[in-house]
Amino acid sequence: MKDSRAVGVVANPASARDIRRLVAHGSTVTAHQKLNQLRRLLVGLGRTGVERVVVMGDRSGIATGLLEGADRPSGAAWPRVEIVDEDLTGTAADTVNATRFMVAERVGAIVVLGGDGTNRLVADECGDTPIVAISTGTNNAFPKPLEPTVAGMAAGLVATGGLDLDRVAKPAKMLEVSCPARQRTERALVDVAILNAERVGSGAIWEPGTVEELYLCFAPPDGIGLSAIGGHLQPVDRHEPIGLAIRLTTAEGASASDPPTQRVTAPIGPGLIAEINVVSWSKLAVDQTITATTTSGTVAIDGERMFRFDSELTVTLRADGPRVVDVAEAMDLAARTGLLAHAPANGPDPAQSSPEQTTN
């Protein structure tokens, strides 16, 4: 049973800081901007009935900034703010620990401010707790740029039980990556890329020429990042029960062993559009497992280089990812059910004044 009056908040202090500010035109989202977004989020949560917000701690002053703000006049409309009671590491482990804490506290929803990577970590731990994903990353496919005030209202309405989850928070697809030698399975919310790069290095992928295989949960033609490549071969919606598997090559012309059959112009980063040589592509069915053609290289998950491998690697599409709140859908349902349209404070009873309530 969820605590319908509590919502968790994970704001990744490290998002929008990686090398893509140097090699592309990625914007910097400062800690101050994230704090400001959280202030707006808390107003949305507070006004939709949420009484308690459990916020991930961080070393960038975001969570403590919220605590300080709670005592000021502008924080009067906020729910009570608590910081997750876990030791900080300054790494991704903080996100994992905070999500586990929030799930144990039975929060009704978790709002995530970050990029694809942050959401992936939360998705691995959140179970059936719905997540609201606000993009504060660089080129995010999974979270959307949302106004936090409205996202907070949607999260509040979801947490307090005002909305049908099957309609506004459908499960996301995920890709499982298994490498027997590693004895663990990784999950991706957007894409799995196999690169012929030697090093994990700075993490972010910004040299598309190194990508040999690409697996996608969804492929929006208006997206940015590696998933955009798929979007121009075969658009795939977030909730369509298929994914894509794509083989790429860096080689040009007939001399290549796997000559390209298509060339896709794709926006793979902020201000970065690449010509991508596609050898072949196919649809992936749910629960279908594919063994990678490549047997050694580097695996990137959701756009970040994660680990090297030298043995067989399999990728499986799953349809039982986290429930992700579609804020537009949630607010649409709220509007259609009149959740936020009230009678004046001392006006007539809304049930009496509704034009649709003609008979009972």
Binding site: T30, A31, H32, Q33
Partner: protein, 321 residues
């Protein structure tokens, strides 16, 4: 928040302008030779604020007794709007013993402890002082605010950034006001400043930054009111950049050859007649408000002229080394 009173804002701007116009006349009246800034009844450099009245009137309308202002080398408009005694100010400008600093400071060094008003000829150095005022206000548990005023050129000084940093870190009740008159002496901002708006710089310190365009006194009034109210409530510092106009030279005697064709259109940008039109004042009202201001300025000049000139012995008083 203070209620907007259009007539009061207009009167304050006229009062400042008539003061500045009179100082302009008196300054040049007996400056012989003209290039000798030490000559005449008003010695020293003179930086007048004509055109920048909306900033002072709009901001100071929200201040109360005990709030602090630190102003730069061009201080008269803020001093007058903040309630510094006009007689004592004029006497200081004339270098008389009845002046705010007994005639030792001159127009760039107006210190009025009672009204927490100070200014400095050293660019940007009012910022840390304002933080000091604000820190004292906070520690004493008052709801007073400090306002630090300087020009857009001063925002390139280290002291500006150090002050924003500390104000944000300590959540001080201070409002940083930048009067952007497009010219740092003779240097246009495009030649000196990477940011097209200094309001953007506030973001680096996590404080709100607002830019007010068009030298509009009511827009200044609203933005300053919100910033000052926020500071009083303990919500922390903020930065307000006001795009204004310097109608006259950087200093008196500045031929302003560097301004080129802009000089020909300056009269059209005078905010005072524009505001009189906005609020619909009649010619009679305009004349009467001007006459009232002139009478106050006349009295201040007379007070200064009637006041004693310091003696050689006075030079040894109130010094510490």
């Amino acid at each position: 928040m203070t209620e907007l009173n259009q007539l009061d804002l207009y009167k304050e701007m006229v009062r400042i302008r008539q003061f500045e116009a009179r100082v302009l006349n008196e300054y040049h009246a007996d400056k012989t030779p003209a290039w000798d800034i030490g000559a005449g009844l008003i010695p020293g450099e003179m930086h007048l604020s004509a055109g920048q009245e909306p900033a002072a009137a709009g901001v100071c309308a929200h201040l109360k007794k005990g709030d602090a202002i630190t102003a730069p080398h061009r201080p008269h408009h803020f001093a007058l709007a903040h309630g510094v005694d006009m007689n004592a100010m004029m006497a200081e400008i004339y270098g008389r013993t009845t002046g705010l600093c007994k005639g030792k400071g001159g127009h760039m060094h107006l210190f009025d402890p009672e009204n927490h008003f100070s200014c400095s000829g050293i660019i940007g150095q009012g910022y840390p002082v304002a933080c000091g005022h604000a820190m004292a206000f906070k520690r004493k548990g008052t709801d007073h605010v400090a306002v630090a005023v300087a020009g857009e050129g001063a925002a390139n000084q280290g002291a500006f950034h150090e002050s924003l940093n500390l104000a944000a870190l300590w959540n001080l009740p201070v409002v940083f006001v930048i009067e952007d008159n497009d010219w740092a002496i003779s240097v246009p901002r495009s030649a000196s400043t990477a940011n097209t708006s200094n309001a953007d710089r506030a973001a680096g310190y996590g404080m709100p930054g607002v830019r007010v365009e068009n030298n509009d006194v009511e827009a200044v009034f609203e933005a300053a009111g919100a910033a000052i109210e926020r500071a009083r409530a303990g919500e922390g510092p903020s930065l307000l950049e006001i795009h204004t106009v310097r109608l006259w030279g950087h200093f008196e005697g500045d031929a302003q050859a560097y301004r080129g064709a802009e000089l020909e259109t300056l009269d059209e940008r005078d905010p005072i007649p524009a505001y009189a039109a906005t609020i619909g004042l009649s010619d009679d009202q305009i004349a009467s408000i001007k006459a009232e201001a002139d009478a106050e300025v006349d009295a201040a000049v007379q007070f200064a002229l009637d006041s004693p000139v310091p003696t050689a012995d006075d030079a040894l008083l109130h010094v510490f080394a």
